[in-house]
């Protein structure tokens, strides 16, 4: 039971990171972006490449940090990967979404994101191969947190959770204390009014893509650390991340964070009643339940 809860929190942190960017984009640009989860894949693979590069260029960095399998090279690689993934998100917007948007084809955006997801996922498969990969070949054993009840956790997972919580705390400070944070929330809530209030919407859209891409990259790396890296990360996580945004209410950043944890925990606790093979269906059940019971999610506001 407690092990499932712990696993749920660990995966929940990853979903939250993915959902923050998605919920903002969905609300501001008014479309369900099916390619958002592919940013996690891009992030995971970009970090893999940078990590290898740093280990070759600067062997000093190849040492593991304490009990983790993570190296300083990987930490640096993550930072670069976040920047690169954010930049790809901006690029996708330039190449595809903005052009569809400017044609006034709002409904077609969803469709474009489907096509883009298909392209990104399969190009990654072609470039890096369809097999799974790992950041480190060293086996890091799970640490026994307690024997009764038995609780196992990998040090990497704890580090990832701690980093996620730290980033969320930083994000919270920015959102609740700075004018930039107010502007970000303002844009998420009401893009038209934000413009009227002197906020440059185009610039904010770029910032939101950068931020969403960066956080998605982090989520991708953390997922790769606790599981493995494969071209289907995006395919497997797209539905749980959507579920997180819907649980939290589309447009609510705090809702996305909470939604991620709720979906992660619920999906793991569902394993008590369902055989594990059915876990990919759980996010769908959560989505339908929320839409029937509380269609605007926990924090969302009605909007047609």
């Amino acid at each position: 039971m407690i092990q499932h809860l712990l696993d749920g929190i660990l995966i929940g942190a990853i979903l939250s990171l993915g959902a923050i960017g998605l919920t903002m984009v969905m609300h501001m640009l008014r479309f369900a972006n099916f390619s958002h989860a592919e940013l996690l894949s891009i992030g995971a693979y970009a970090a893999l490449v940078f990590d290898k590069l740093f280990k070759v260029l600067m062997p000093v960095l190849a040492d593991q940090i304490g009990p983790l399998s993570m190296t300083w090279a990987l930490v640096l690689a993550i930072v670069l990967s976040m920047a690169l993934t954010g930049a790809s998100a901006v690029l996708f917007d330039r190449l595809v979404f903005r052009r569809v948007r400017e044609k006034g084809e709002e409904l077609s955006m969803v469709f474009a994101s489907f096509g883009l997801a298909l392209i990104v996922r399969n190009v990654i498969g072609l470039v890096f191969g369809l097999h799974t990969q790992l950041y480190s070949q060293d086996i890091v054993f799970a640490v026994v947190l307690s024997r009764d009840p038995l609780l196992l956790v990998k040090p990497d997972q704890l580090a990832a959770l701690a980093a996620t919580l730290a980033i969320m705390a930083a994000l919270h400070l920015v959102l609740s204390r700075t004018t930039f944070g107010y502007a970000l929330r303002a844009v998420a809530e009401n893009p038209v009014l934000a413009q009227v209030n002197g906020i440059d919407l185009r610039r904010m859209i770029v910032i939101v893509w950068l931020l969403g891409g960066g956080l998605a990259s982090l989520a991708g790396v953390f997922y790769g650390l606790s599981n493995q890296i494969s071209p289907v990360i995006g395919r497997d996580l797209v539905l749980p991340i959507f579920a997180a945004t819907i649980v939290g209410g589309i447009g609510s950043i705090y809702g996305a964070v909470l939604g991620g944890f709720i979906v992660g925990i619920a999906a793991n606790l569902a394993l008590f009643v369902l055989p594990s093979g059915y876990s990919p269906s759980v996010p769908f059940l959560i989505i339908i339940a929320v839409l029937l019971l509380r269609p605007n999610g926990l924090f969302g506001e009605a909007r047609t």
């Binding site: 969905m26 008014r30 479309f31 369900a32 099916f34 595809v96 052009r99 569809v100 044609k103 084809e105 409904l107 077609s108 969803v110 469709f111 474009a112 489907f114 096509g115 883009l116 997801a117 298909l118 392209i119 996922r121 399969n122 190009v123 498969g125 072609l126 369809l130 395919r235 797209v238 539905l239 959507f242 579920a243 819907i246 589309i250 055989p275 093979g277 059915y278 990919p280 269906s281 996010p283 769908f284 059940l285 989505i287 339908i288 839409l291 029937l292 269609p295 909007r303 047609t304």
Partner: protein, 315 residues
């Protein structure tokens, strides 16, 4: 020669079945503006429903009710309709992205359940034990395939005529009105949510028919047949044909299915053996490029909807 003809019969049969599904999607997307990200689920519900209801008794999984074939097909279509109704009721009164996400989700869940529920649908091994109707009379060979193709073509034509009439009817105009301007439609006293639900379920039932025929044709269905890839393919067919235009949808189906099978054949024939594993990835990239490229450069499709002058008559 007979080989070529029998291949053409095979190709035309599959393409015509897919065209029926594309017509169903056209009702949802082209005429009503409803995004269905889970075509594979409704198609699959039709296939599984038909095979379970019409199959012979099997050890190990549900089915073998041995229903009279047309009844089994109707049952499959009803299964697709019920699935659509459940998703529709939950989402159609909400903003449009909820429908997109939920339909995508239902397809993921459908495939997942079919893959795992051995007792219900045979699990990953798929559903066996279905006897194609009239097999005793027509045998298993070329004659049967020709006869089956004729049945499929008749049903394709029937679906086409049904949809053309529907689109031309007051209900069809209402769909367009809701797609163009929901508030205006509501002010006319029509409930957009109910009208959209009707269109959505009808489209799904048509996809269910396509699935039923597909399952019948192969006398077999497995989770491999209801992967999200199918949804993407059907989408590409519609957008190439031109959303809103039924004739274009059918042409688009043949074009994309032709391109898909041709590219699959070319890759298996000419690509180096070590690249064969990646043939699928290359095809998916191509499908993705077709979708994105059409949206960017020719959103009205290759065969766009004939210009319909608005009933209100501007100005």
């Amino acid at each position: 020669m007979i080989g070529v003809i029998s291949y053409l019969v095979f190709f035309t049969t599959v393409a015509s079945i897919l065209a029926i599904a594309v017509l169903g999607l056209n009702l949802q997307w082209g005429n009503t503006g409803l995004f269905n990200g889970g075509v594979a689920a409704f198609f699959g519900a039709g296939a599984y429903g038909t095979l379970i209801l019409g199959g012979t008794p099997q050890a190990g999984h549900l089915g073998g009710f041995g229903l009279f074939y047309p009844l089994a097909v109707l049952g499959g279509m009803a299964a697709a309709g019920v699935l659509a109704w459940i998703v529709g009721v939950a989402t159609l009164r909400l903003r449009h992205d909820y429908l997109a996400i939920s339909t995508f989700g239902v397809a993921v869940a459908f495939e997942n359940v079919m893959r795992n529920a051995e007792a219900l649908a045979g699990g990953a091994k798929g559903l066996r034990g279905f006897e194609r109707p009239l097999r005793d009379a027509l045998g298993d060979g070329f004659v049967y395939n020709i006869a089956f193709l004729l049945v499929v073509l008749v049903l394709l034509l029937a679906t086409y005529l049904f949809l053309e009439r529907l689109v031309g009817s007051p209900f069809g105009r209402l769909l367009r009105a809701i797609r163009e301007d929901e508030t205006a439609a509501r002010s006319l006293g029509k409930s957009p949510a109910r009208v959209r639900l009707t269109a959505f379920v009808t489209g799904a039932v048509i996809m269910g028919l396509a699935g039923a025929l597909y399952g019948t044709f192969y006398a077999f269905v497995s989770p491999q047949d209801v992967l999200p890839t199918l949804t993407f393919q059907i989408w590409a067919m519609l957008i190439v044909g031109g959303a809103g235009n039924n004739r274009g949808a059918i042409l688009g189906t043949f074009l994309i299915w032709g391109a898909w099978t041709a590219s699959g054949w070319a890759l298996s024939r000419f690509a180096p053996i070590e690249a064969q594993l990646y043939a699928g990835s290359i095809q998916y990239v191509l499908i993705g490029l077709v979708i994105v490229g059409m949206l960017l450069w020719r959103p009205q499709g290759l065969f766009p909807e004939r210009l319909v002058v608005s009933q209100s008559g501007q100005g």
